[in-house]
Assembly symmetry: C2
C-alpha cells in the first residue's frame, strides 16, 4: 500500500497482482496471442478483483486514435436531429464505438470550436450535419489530415467526404404537386435561409412542380431569427393571396401553424399547408399536418455505417466520396384538404 489514495488501478497493479509483466496483461486485455489460457484466466480474475479499467487517455495517446466518433448536429430540440442522433449512437455502440454528441445550435463559432475539439481529442471520425459554410475549410483540413468525415442531410460542395442525404427535390416536387392536384394555383413556398443545399433542393423541387404546371412562384424566404409566421399571414391580405403554403422544414411548419392559429385562420379552407419533414405530434395537431417524412433513423444508421466502414478499411486517407440518397414519403393528413380518414371510415 502506497500513500497514494487516488485509487487509480493501473495495468502495472494488475501485473504485480499476478506476478507477471504489463505486456502480458495488455495482451489479455486486447485479446492478442501468445498468452496461455491459464495465465489469461489469472489475469482476468485479477482485473475483475481489482476493478481495473484501462485508462482511455493513455490508450488514445499511444494509439493515436480513440474509439470515439464525433457527431455534430445543429440542434437537439429538432426531433429530426435527435432521432438521427439516437440512431447514430445505437449503431456506433453496436460496433464498439462511443459517440460524442455536440449541438452547435447553428452558431458558427460553436461549430468551429467543436470541430477543433475533434482534432484535439483524437476523434476517430466525424459525422456532421453541417450548419455553416464557415466550417468548410476546417472540415477540408481535417480531411486532409486523414480524418474520415460523413455529412448528413446537408452537404457542401468541394469537400471530399461521405454524404448521406434524402431526396429533397423529389420530396418537394411531390408535395407541391399534391397541392396542385387539390386545385391550388397560388402556392407559397416558405422557409428560413437557403444556406443549406438541402433547402435549396427543396426549393428546386417546388420550382419544378410549379413550372411544370405553368404556375407562377411565390416565396417567403427569411434569415434565421426573423419571425416568419406574421409574414405568411400578411401575404394573405395581399392582392394575390396564396391558397396554400409549402413549408421547407419542421421549424417553419410550426412557426406558420402558430401564426395561423393566432389569427384563427382555418386550415385548409382558408389556407392549405404541407410541410417538409414530419414529426411525432403532427397527427395530434388541431389540423393534422400533411408532411414529407424523412427517414431520420435510416439517415443516421447509414451515415454511421459508412463512417465506421472507412474507419475499418482505413481508407479515410483516400477519397471517400460515397453518397447515399434515401427516399422520402408523403404522409397524407388533413392540412391539405384531403378528407379525414376517420370521417370516411366511420361516418357519425
Amino acid at each position: 500500500m502506497s500513500t497514494r489514495s487516488r485509487s487509480v488501478v493501473t495495468i502495472a497493479d494488475v501485473a504485480r497482482a499476478c506476478g507477471v509483466g504489463t505486456m502480458t496483461v495488455s495482451r489479455v486485455i486486447n485479446g492478442k496471442k501468445h498468452v496461455s489460457e491459464e495465465m489469461a484466466r489469472r489475469v482476468e480474475e485479477a482485473i475483475a478483483r481489482l476493478n481495473y479499467q484501462p485508462n482511455e487517455a493513455a490508450r488514445t495517446l499511444k494509439g493515436r486514435t480513440s474509439r470515439t466518433i464525433g457527431l455534430i448536429v445543429p440542434s437537439l430540440s429538432d426531433p429530426f436531429f435527435s432521432q438521427c442522433a439516437h440512431a447514430v449512437q445505437q449503431v456506433a455502440a453496436e460496433q464498439g464505438y462511443m459517440t460524442m454528441l455536440f449541438a452547435c445550435e447553428a452558431n458558427r463559432s460553436v461549430e468551429a470550436e467543436e470541430l477543433s475539439q475533434m482534432r484535439a481529442r483524437n476523434i476517430a471520425g466525424i459525422l456532421i450535419v453541417p450548419s455553416s459554410e464557415n466550417s468548410l475549410e476546417q472540415l477540408q483540413e481535417l480531411r486532409r489530415s486523414g480524418m474520415p468525415v460523413v455529412m448528413i442531410d446537408r452537404t457542401f460542395a468541394g469537400i471530399d467526404a461521405g454524404e448521406v442525404m434524402v431526396e429533397n427535390l423529389e420530396g418537394a416536387f411531390r408535395a407541391t404537386n399534391h397541392l396542385i392536384d387539390h386545385g391550388h394555383r397560388r402556392i407559397l413556398c416558405v422557409g428560413y435561409d437557403r444556406e443549406y443545399n438541402s433547402i435549396g433542393e427543396r426549393i428546386e423541387g417546388y420550382k419544378k412542380a410549379m413550372q411544370t404546371a405553368g404556375l407562377s412562384q411565390q416565396y417567403i424566404l427569411v434569415k434565421r431569427g426573423v419571425p416568419i409566421g406574421p409574414k405568411v399571414v400578411a401575404s394573405l391580405r395581399s392582392a394575390k393571396p396564396p391558397s396554400a403554403v409549402f413549408t421547407l422544414n419542421n421549424v417553419t411548419s410550426v412557426a406558420v401553424l402558430s401564426a395561423l392559429k393566432r389569427e384563427e385562420i382555418r386550415i385548409p379552407q382558408q389556407l392549405a399547408i404541407i410541410g417538409f419533414d414530419d414529426f411525432e405530434l403532427a397527427s395530434l395537431l388541431a389540423v393534422p399536418l400533411t408532411a414529407v417524412r424523412q427517414p431520420a433513423t435510416e439517415l443516421g444508421r447509414h451515415a454511421t455505417r459508412m463512417l465506421i466502414d472507412s474507419l475499418r478499411t482505413g481508407n479515410g486517407g483516400e477519397r471517400m466520396t460515397s453518397r447515399i440518397v434515401l427516399p422520402t414519403e408523403l404522409i397524407l393528413r388533413q392540412s391539405c384538404g384531403c378528407e379525414p380518414i376517420s370521417r370516411i371510415a366511420r361516418p357519425s
Copy 2:
C-alpha cells in the same frame, strides 16, 4: 522534414520553431507566469503558424482529469431532456468545459456502460438523469473515488451527490386541484412505472389533493413499453368512469391524447386532461393541453453550475449534498375545461 506524414504538430515542434524549450511553450499555452511578453508573442505566432493544438489525450493523461463533463439522459427524443441538455452544454462551454452527451434510452446496460466509460475517460464530473436503480452502486463507487456527481430531475436515496429537482409534489397538487376546481370528482392518475422518485412525488401530490378534497383515487400505472392509451379508453367504459385524467409525464400525455383522438373522444367534454410537463407543440394540439411546465433550461443551468462549482473548489471528494428545488408553473390551456382565451378576447 522527417518522413512521418502524420502531420501531428506537437509542443516540441512549436518549441523548436521558436528555439526555446517545451516548458516555455507550455507556460504560454496555459497562461502561467515566468514568460516575457516578447517571448509569449513569438510562441503564439508560431502556434498560429503551425496550427498547433494541444493533444487532449496527453493533457488528460498527465493532468488526471479532462476538462469534460459527462451528461447522461434517458432519451433525446423527449424535449424536456433535450432542452435540459442544451442548457448544460451552453453553461459548460461558457465555463470552458466540453460536454459528452449520452442517451441511454432507458436501457440499464447502456447506462452502466456509459458510466463505466466516464471513469475510463477521466471525465471531470457527471451530470445524470438517472433512469435505473441499477446504476446506483456504480454511481456510489464513482463518488467514493472522488468524482463529483449531480443528479437532475430524479434522485436516488443513499447517494451523496448534488441534486437539482423540480417541485413535483406541489406541481401535481396544483394540477389535481385545478381539475377539482373545475368540478371533477373522478380523476384518474395515469403514467408509466413508478421507479423514479420524481414520478413518485407527482403521485403523492395527486394523492394529497384527492385526500384533501375527500375524493377516492384511481390509478393506471404501467411498466414502460405497455401501451397506456387503450387502458385509459377502457376505463371510460367502466362502472365509474373518470371525468378527468392527470398524466404523469410528457410521454404519457401524448400516448393518452393519441388514444383519445383515435376513439374520437371529446376533450374536455367527455374527458378533461391535464399533464405534468409542458412541451412546445402543446398549444397547437387539437385541444391545447393544460400542463405543468417544468423549467428544463433552469434545471440544466443550475445543475451544471453546481457541478462546476464543486470541480473548482475541488470538494468533490467531500460530501456534496447540495440540493436545489425549482418551482413549476401551471400553464392553463383548454384541455381541462377553461374557456379558450382567444374566444374571450375576441368573440366572433
